[in-house]
Symmetry: C2
Subunit: 262 residues, 2 copies
């Protein structure tokens, strides 16, 4: 038996997230997910029933530049051949960047040391047509200095209960954020084209994340940027552990799982 | 009566090109075009029957960063209000960048002094998922030096008969190309992300273009880049005026109408 690791890029727009849906709900069978597509294609290629384990769920509409997943197989196909076969069977919005043989003990989630996410806000109410599915349009003024100051309070090891989704079932809620950077730009690059729209780019890196944690952090920082809450509120929210005190959940389409570190 | 000029950005992927289809064909009514969408929305806003004139047709799948169109109306709506109303009625893949009142004699096509197009080739057989609709994937080696040399022969005023579409009905076929640049890049920028794929970017600028002329030029230059024809063939093709001697038509999705100059 061999263990194979995949690195996957996807556009989450058309999908109900990463995770295969359990078939208890009558709706679930119509809910196409990245995992279900990949498992089906891998099963076809290997003629085995493949179960794929991902490094983390991404919600519906969230994109990935480097999602990681692994599976075990009897197949003797080389990683390169498997990569080509899988790419040729996948729709154009899912692309396999790398296939690699790994130790039988490799687990995409438990072996991960850190993960990074990117989030994009575009400073207009009408996004460029090419970037419509990849950003959160906010035209209102944002006090970026205040947002950066608030972000500073989140760096480090904290109990992030206040920033998790109501349905999140993680046993421990202590996580470490090592980076939360916020940058502004005047022109948003798209291929060789500089589209004239201001944008804000977040990068957040940590050992692990609770469900909706990144989007709840971004949503709260935006409310601080709009002056709806003071910078200091971020410390109170953290201390309270109360989801109701934090801000809104930023929309899925601006979020990219950038990389999983091992 | 006022004359209004629009500058329009669109993602051509879902459309049958710019031009409204004549309703003689039974298929035509199902063929949604950018022009038909805009005319319908403008007619709703002004409560008049609006006829829009564009600076040039773009074919199905071709994109625009700055298409120009104009119409005449009795409406007294300000350009800013009209822009907002039109944007709110248009689908997210059509965006109005600017509305401006112009002279009654302004004609988007006849008043234009020059036009520029961009074309993107990506050097892989599996394009990044986010850029799939915006480039021509070519994995084979391309001799960029040879392509640049060949491009040099096209700059200037020539009879471009050999590069026009078979159905093109333009009366004169002499056109002037003022720029035909070819650049290579190692990383293709997408928002704040550098996607690790080599790419080639063409920029072509001229006083006017025959139907398919840009795509036929790109297709021929690619065949030269692949070594299928010598650099010198470009002069013979030009001189012959024979479409059959030129190369293939490059796919629509890599092409962007960049700007119309007045």
């Amino acid at each position: 038996m061999r263990r194979l690791k995949l690195v996957i890029e996807y556009d989450g727009s058309r999908y109900h997230g990463w995770q295969r849906q359990t078939v208890t709900s009558p709706l679930a069978k119509d809910r196409v997910t990245i995992q279900s597509i990949l498992e089906e294609r891998l099963s076809r290629i290997t003629t085995e029933k493949i179960k794929l384990v991902g490094a983390g769920r991404t919600d519906a509409g969230v994109h990935a530049l480097g999602q990681v997943a692994a599976f075990t197989t009897k197949s003797s196909l080389s990683p390169e051949v498997l990569k080509r076969a899988l790419n040729s069977l996948c729709p154009p919005d899912i692309r396999i960047l790398d296939v690699e043989e790994v130790s039988p003990h490799f687990h995409p989630r438990f072996s991960a040391k850190a993960k990074s996410y990117l989030y994009f806000i575009i400073r207009t109410d009408r996004p460029p047509v090419f970037l419509n599915s990849y950003c959160w349009p906010i035209r209102a003024e944002l006090d970026i200095t205040a947002m950066k100051e608030a972000a500073g309070y989140l760096i480090g090891t904290h109990d992030f209960s206040a920033f998790r989704a109501s349905g999140c079932s993680a046993k421990t809620t202590v996580r470490s954020i090592t980076e939360l950077s916020i940058e502004e730009g005047e022109f948003i690059p798209f291929m060789g084209i500089q589209i004239q729209e201001r944008f804000v780019r977040f990068r957040i890196c940590g050992n692990a994340f609770l469900r909706y944690m990144v989007r709840n952090i971004i949503g709260t920082l935006v409310e601080i940027g709009k002056g709806k809450r003071p910078v200091s509120s971020i410390r109170e929210i953290l201390k309270s552990g109360d989801r109701k005190l934090a801000g809104i959940t930023a929309p899925a389409q601006g979020l990219f799982l950038e990389r999983v570190y091992y």
